[in-house]
Symmetry: C2
Subunit: 341 residues, 2 copies
């Protein structure tokens, strides 16, 4: 199988995506890999495997690479006579804007390219934290209480609270505020990144669990990871976290694990078909709460799976093209007949 | 101003979109129009104004028109030396799939093309009737009780009910069922179009009101139209409805009108910025309920506006490009420094 890793993007998480792609280069061993980079100007480049090093991008050397055109059927580059297509299944590894907001998913569908990605609906529901909350409530998954604000007129009654821009990942723009001053400052920070912000009670001592998975016929679950966290993982923590080898296994209670999997299934089916996602849950007094859905987790959460190559292969084989709609102009013909034309 | 009417698409409403575009040809008088057709294979064609007749499409004559490529910056066609761009602001007039599911919106944003369209989030929220209900509840707009089903295991306790595929417009696949047999048959019909279905109580004698509008600085409202309907408008009724000249004005109570506008504002702001939408409301015992959001209404609901040209011009002038994200590789550089590379 040829897998095309699509990474970069016009996103605050552009650099994280580069690191994610470099990580996957070593983690995917059984499949043939191509690398397509979306630069900050949204131009596409075909990156040779030996150039998959962070410096190649930060030094802008990538501009010497083959430029690609996205068209019906795939990514094409110019040859002396005609255009050549890069064959394969695309893996959308663009974190944040472009990748997780539905743009790439929509383009891949429109141009008829098979792609491991959250689809447009799944992207919108998971990229926007307000919609994630709405969706979770609709399907019967618990979430922590929250308030959605678009200005600083609301002041919480008690602290600490956690302030999150409604559309960003990787903890960018997130603050924990212990009092009103910190709160107002945190809001300012968050509004630099988005025009909507979610305010949540910050619960000390809450446990966090991560579970990744995808559907290929049936659901494939990863290990459940208990997050050993400090007060909270900052952007830097998460960023450096990509390089880790595997999860420190900490025994997770089997009843709790079942509950987490049950919640994951409700969230996944069937909205996330075609995607490998990671859900971050909280546990408080035996109850499970959804924190976030990561529809394109860092380095695809490969470290949570025993046999990541196999998971990717099964998921790829489960991908389907969009249903073809037959258009036969019967309505227009009927009207023309009626008009006697 | 040059306006590029984008129509067609791989959609069950492909033919409606053609009729919509032909209608707008006569309704937009002050602006220069270009027509870009997306055929059932998702190829783009530049259609000359004089060829904007339904037969040109139903006879497949359009295949002789200039083929276009969608790329960064616009729609291009090949000239002897290089490529030529069609300049202008795009008006997304593709009803249903492709146009209303977020694909076109995403591509326009990605390729940096200004476009009158619901954005990706707005598309997903309005295209999927379940998400419309979730959204309405979140922002405090009433909806009729509903049940979302994915199979035929649920049987309503009382009839009549209305059965709607969760993602289609123009009443395609919609049935009103007066008893269990009709219900099961109606479900079968709906599941031919979608894997999710919304069941609603069908209220006899409910009044329906339509209101269109958009934001250009402030909200611009159309007239409020009271729908003179038969039991319910079928696909054929709606289809033939496009050709009508103007709304039969029926005096709408001013308190009711205010309530409808208030609900419209809640729904529109700021999710639908950049789009001209029509909201269909029900009125029952003085309460207003949202029925549906049409983010790309048939022929842009031009018949509801006094000066449609002006509305389009104001809306066009309000469009903004997506915010540019600066990427300076500071994180990658920091890590390289730390590693001593």
């Amino acid at each position: 199988m040829n897998l095309i890793i699509l990474f970069g993007g016009s996103s605050y998480e552009h650099e994280i995506s580069i690191v994610s792609a470099i990580t996957l280069k070593d983690k995917i061993k059984k499949h043939n890999l191509s690398f397509v980079f979306v630069d900050r100007n949204r131009d596409f480049y075909l990156i040779e495997k030996e150039n998959m090093k962070s410096k190649y991008f930060s030094s802008f050397e990538y501009k010497k690479a083959k430029k690609l055109n996205l068209q019906k059927g795939g990514f094409f580059y110019k040859k002396l006579f005609g255009n050549e297509n890069i064959n394969g299944i695309v893996l959308n590894l663009i974190h944040g804007r472009d990748g997780e907001d539905g743009k790439i998913a929509g383009m891949m569908q429109f141009f008829g390219i098979k792609c491991i990605t959250p689809n447009i609906e799944a992207s919108v529901i998971s990229y926007n934290k307000l919609y994630t909350k709405m969706y979770a409530k609709e399907i019967g998954v618990k979430v922590l209480n929250y308030r959605y604000v678009t200005d600083n007129s609301y002041i919480p009654e008690s602290f600490p609270v956690i302030i999150k821009p409604v559309r960003l990942g990787s903890s960018i723009g997130v603050t924990i505020a212990k009092n009103k001053d910190e709160y107002l400052y945190g809001l300012d920070v968050a509004f630099e990144f988005d025009d909507g912000v979610i305010i949540e009670e910050f619960k000390e001592g809450i446990s966090e669990y991560n579970l990744a998975g995808c559907k290929a016929g049936e659901l494939i679950f990863s290990k459940v990871e208990k997050v050993n966290k400090k007060e909270f993982l900052s952007y830097d923590d998460k960023y450096c976290d990509f390089s880790r080898k595997e999860v420190e296994t900490q025994k997770v209670d089997s009843i709790l694990e079942e509950k987490i999997k049950e919640n994951f299934s409700k969230i996944y089916e069937n909205l996330f078909n075609g995607a490998l996602i990671r859900c971050d849950f909280f546990e408080l007094n035996g109850e499970i709460y959804l924190n976030e859905i990561n529809p394109i987790p860092g380095s695809m959460a490969n470290y949570l799976f025993e046999d990541f190559d196999e998971v990717i292969e099964k998921l790829s084989n489960s991908l389907k093209f969009e249903k073809r709609i037959e258009i036969d102009y019967s309505y227009i013909n009927k009207i023309q007949m009626a008009k006697g034309k």
